[in-house]
């Protein structure tokens, strides 16, 4: 098979991978914020729900979660297509790690910020959204960046539930053409480029959010 053809087949797969990332990442972010905030501020029973979610998704493998959602849930009368299963499984999985990022970043904002906002008589929600969160967001970006990269890498699991993502296309191409060197070389470059583009975007975001905080740049 010609190299150009290989690239174009793999590109189709890459687009599927990007689609999954583009949908799972917002889901993961929403889960991270909702359950991270519940974990910190909600009444006890809600906290328990959050803890169960977090511990369950962090404590079991992403592949098994994917299998459950795609293969096992139909036995309980819940059938979803492969793409939705992939987005839900990966979104919930990465989101469970994200909750701890949100929680940690909020707790890392110095206590004095909360105290000053009480002294100025801000309401509880003003304290959170106007004082604490803008500073916490900056703390969140680097670890969120790492999670986003984890997500890109984890998408290769979806090839195991029949989705034609980058990994799936690569494997089937390799099986038929045996040109493993070229194929997996291109795959490597594709994944790497996706991660780099994501990283670039994250650095921009961090720079934008850290205005005034005097710690711009990608601090680790």
């Amino acid at each position: 098979m010609e190299f150009g053809e290989i690239v174009s087949v793999l590109l189709q797969g890459a687009i599927v991978t990007i689609k999954i990332v583009a949908m799972a990442l917002p889901l993961a972010t929403i889960m991270a914020f909702v359950f991270g905030l519940v974990r910190l501020y909600a009444p006890a029973p809600f906290k328990q729900v959050a803890i169960v979610y977090i511990e369950f998704f962090r404590g079991t493998s992403a592949l098994i979660q994917l299998y459950w959602i795609y293969f096992v849930l139909p036995f309980f009368g819940i059938t979803i297509d492969a793409m939705t299963a992939a987005v839900v499984a990966l979104g919930l999985n990465i989101g469970s790690y994200g909750t701890e990022v949100v929680r940690g970043a909020i707790q890392a904002v110095p206590k004095g910020q909360y105290e000053a906002s009480v002294a100025l008589n801000f309401t509880a929600s003003q304290r959170l959204w106007r004082v604490i969160m803008p500073q916490a967001l900056v703390n969140m970006i680097p670890p969120f960046g790492n999670l986003a990269i984890e997500l890109v890498k984890a998408t290769s699991l979806v090839s195991l539930i029949t989705i034609g993502d980058l990994t799936f296309k690569a494997k089937s191409l390799a099986d038929t053409t045996l040109q493993v060197g070229e194929i997996f070389g291109v795959v490597l470059v594709f994944y790497f480029v996706m991660a780099q583009v994501l990283m670039l975007f994250i650095k921009r975001l961090e720079k934008y959010l850290s205005k005034g905080l005097g710690r711009g740049g990608f601090s680790s």
Partner: protein
């Protein structure tokens, strides 16, 4: 004489098993300037933090401007205050912190306008006018658009004072506002307070280790030790002729140091 603007009655405060105040009584009159001095860990900050509603109490009552601070009337009884009551009571109080606690993600101007606008509903234009006036008062008119991290410690603290004043509190709480500053920056901050009390009358409660400042600015000085007022009175008397041995020992140690 009118009722005191601040009154502690049999207040108890513990941190776990540590008792900070066991039966604390204390009054401040309107427009009185009271300095609190005393050794580390004696409960000076805790006193201010209780007033600012940053710490709750475990017993007794506190009145501020004629109303109970930590309790509210409910069906003919006093019950622990809810957040609405605390929100109302906080309007009387403002605080300046040892470590400034400015909002680093806001410009100096926004640090000052944010609370009046969001909490009191002051229009942006009025809030900004007030901010400009206050910045001029603290000598930082040219720093309105800077971010706190670009200021010196003394400048930060002057913004801290302006920010607290913007809410027009009737009681101002100052907790060691110069302790985190290099010695050469202390006076630019203290001068702001000096000018402030010259121009307007304030009820002010300040914890300080600057004895000369306490002496010159206060109507009354309270010497604290182990959660109790050991001795209090006019500054001239406390600083020149203290009666209690513990006060003498504390002041001697200070003079020895500086």
């Amino acid at each position: 004489m009118s009722a005191p603007i601040i009154e502690f009655k049999n207040v108890k405060k513990c941190f776990g098993d540590t008792v900070i105040f066991s039966d604390f009584n204390f009054k401040v009159e309107e427009n009185e300037i009271v300095s609190i001095i005393g050794p580390s860990g004696s409960g000076k900050s805790t006193l201010l933090r209780i007033l600012m509603t940053l710490e709750g109490i475990d017993g007794g009552y506190i009145n501020v401007a004629g109303e109970s601070l930590w309790h509210m009337p409910w069906q003919g009884q006093y019950v622990p205050a809810n957040s609405k009551h605390l929100h109302k009571m906080r309007n009387h109080l403002g605080m300046v912190f040892q470590h400034f606690n400015l909002f680093p993600h806001m410009t100096v101007k926004r640090n000052i306008t944010e609370a009046p606008m969001r909490v009191k509903g002051v229009s942006r234009q009025d809030a900004e006018e007030l901010a400009e006036k206050l910045l001029a008062l603290v000598g930082l008119a040219d720093k309105a658009d800077s971010y706190p991290n670009d200021l010196s410690g003394g400048q930060k603290q002057r913004v801290g004072i302006a920010r607290a004043l913007a809410m027009k509190p009737s009681i101002l709480l100052l907790d060691e506002i110069t302790s985190a500053l290099d010695p050469e920056l202390v006076d630019e901050v203290l001068d702001v307070i000096r000018n402030l009390v010259k121009e307007e009358s304030f009820t002010m409660l300040l914890v300080t280790h600057e004895m000369y400042f306490a002496r010159e600015i206060s109507d009354r000085v309270c010497f604290f030790d182990k959660g109790a007022i050991v001795e209090e009175g006019e500054p001239e008397i406390i600083f020149t002729a203290p009666k209690e041995e513990r006060t003498k020992a504390f002041l001697n140690a200070y003079i020895g140091q500086s």
